[in-house]
Structure formats: structure tokens, C-alpha cells
């Protein structure tokens, strides 16, 4: 009898407790890993008053986008380049050779005269960047 009891008690002692100490280390390592490796590519452009619209689709996957900002005074920015209308095609073409899946996001002020938009569209056609999205503000 005594022999059996001692056997039981020994077994209990072995299964006792899983050490949770390293769990914190692992989770902190994971946090630090993601903090260090996450890169946000954000081109700020300039503030524009986007036109409101209803039937708009969300665009996923920041890597495949080229942003073009256009303001009513005719100032144009393509991602990080402050540029003029005739250069838009060349810049987009260079970006397109690096990533053929590019979608161009046109972010223009609602008061921009259409001739600027049309000019940009013609430049995009020349550069063969045919997937375009006119960015709008969601209208409730």
C-alpha cells in the first residue's frame, strides 16, 4: 500500500506546472520583430478636397499603387515627385516597368478644371498605365 502511494505522489510531482515564463519573451520578441520589419510607404502629396461619390470600391494592396495629386492651380505630384503635366507619362512609365501591376490613383480636388484631368489621362494612356481609379470621398 505504501509502495503504491509513493508511486502516485511521484507521478503528480512530475506533471505539475508548465513554465509560462518564456511565453512573455516570445510575445515580446514577436512584437519587436513586427515593429521593426513593418514599413509604411506613405506619400503625403498635398491636401485636396476629394469629390464625394457613392459607388466606390475600396482599394487593397498599397504596393501596387501610384498616386497622382492634382490641384486646381495645375500643380501635379506623382508619388514623391513634384512635376509638370508633360512629365507624368515618363514617371508612371518608369514605375510601370518596375511593377507591371500598377493601378494609378487620381486624387484631384473637386474644383480642378477637367482639362488637367484629361491631360493626365492622356499621359497615362501614353505610358500604358491603363488601370485608373478616381479617388473619391464616401458620400453617406
Amino acid at each position: 500500500m505504501a509502495h503504491i502511494q509513493s508511486r502516485f505522489s511521484r507521478r503528480n510531482r512530475i506533471s505539475e506546472g508548465i513554465s509560462t515564463g518564456p511565453l512573455a519573451d516570445i510575445s515580446f520578441l514577436l512584437i519587436i520583430f513586427f515593429m521593426v520589419t513593418t514599413v509604411f510607404v506613405v506619400y503625403r502629396g498635398f491636401p485636396v478636397d476629394l469629390p464625394p461619390a457613392q459607388k466606390i470600391d475600396a482599394l487593397l494592396g498599397k504596393r501596387n499603387f501610384v498616386n497622382i495629386w492634382i490641384d486646381p492651380q495645375g500643380r501635379i505630384m506623382v508619388d514623391e515627385f513634384d512635376t509638370q503635366l508633360p512629365q507624368v507619362g515618363n514617371i508612371v512609365k518608369t514605375k510601370l516597368t518596375m511593377n507591371p501591376r500598377i493601378v494609378v490613383l487620381v486624387k484631384s480636388d473637386r474644383n480642378t478644371p477637367y482639362r488637367l484631368i484629361s491631360g493626365v489621362i492622356e499621359e497615362l494612356k501614353k505610358a500604358d498605365a491603363l488601370r485608373v481609379s478616381f479617388i473619391a470621398r464616401e458620400e453617406k
Binding site: 482599394l59 477637367y114 492622356e122 479617388i135
Partner: protein, 115 residues
Amino acid sequence: MADIAFLLIIFFLVTTTFSMDKGLGLTLPPSGTKTTVPSVNIARVWIDTTGKITLDDREATLDELGSRIKTLTGKNPNIIVSIKTASDARYQSFVDVIDEIKKAGNDKISIAEPD
């Protein structure tokens, strides 16, 4: 310690929002290509300098444009809406028209160059 770390992870997972752009997507035709489309399959939209809309030579408000495009698409599913905008029109008018056409369920939009 681990509890706090996990709580923090969950907190940030739940509260993080990525600002996503939303827009009206279009596919442009390659430069220099010309496809001939029978004129019965084209609905011509003209936006003038003041933002006034004309569909097939008849004036229309934005709502009317939507319903007329819907009827046209119902009668002929191959209809292509060709939008021509005056150079001095506001970008807003152009976006409004594309939005309205998309709302009417037609995705075949062609953008004509202004004269």
C-alpha cells in the same frame, strides 16, 4: 507579463485601422487604338462648362441620367457610355456622372478627349 503582452497585442489588433483609399475604377483603352462600335451601342454623355449634362442630345439631370442609362442598358446590354467633358468643367461634375452611370449598373464607360 504574458497576459499584459497579449492584451496589448489584442488591443492593437482590434483598434488598428488602415486608411484605405476608395475610388471609381476604370480601365483606359491603350493609346492609339481605335475600335469601331456601331452607333446604336453608344450613349453619348456631354458635360458642359457649367456642369449641365446632355445624354444623346437631350438634357438630363443627374437622376434622370441614371434612370435613362438604366433603361438603355436594359434594352441593349452592349451599350457603351461615352463621356465627353468640357475642358473648363469641374472635376466634380465628371465624377458625379461616372458615379451615376456605375450606380445605374453600367460599367462600360469610355472617356472621350475634349475638343
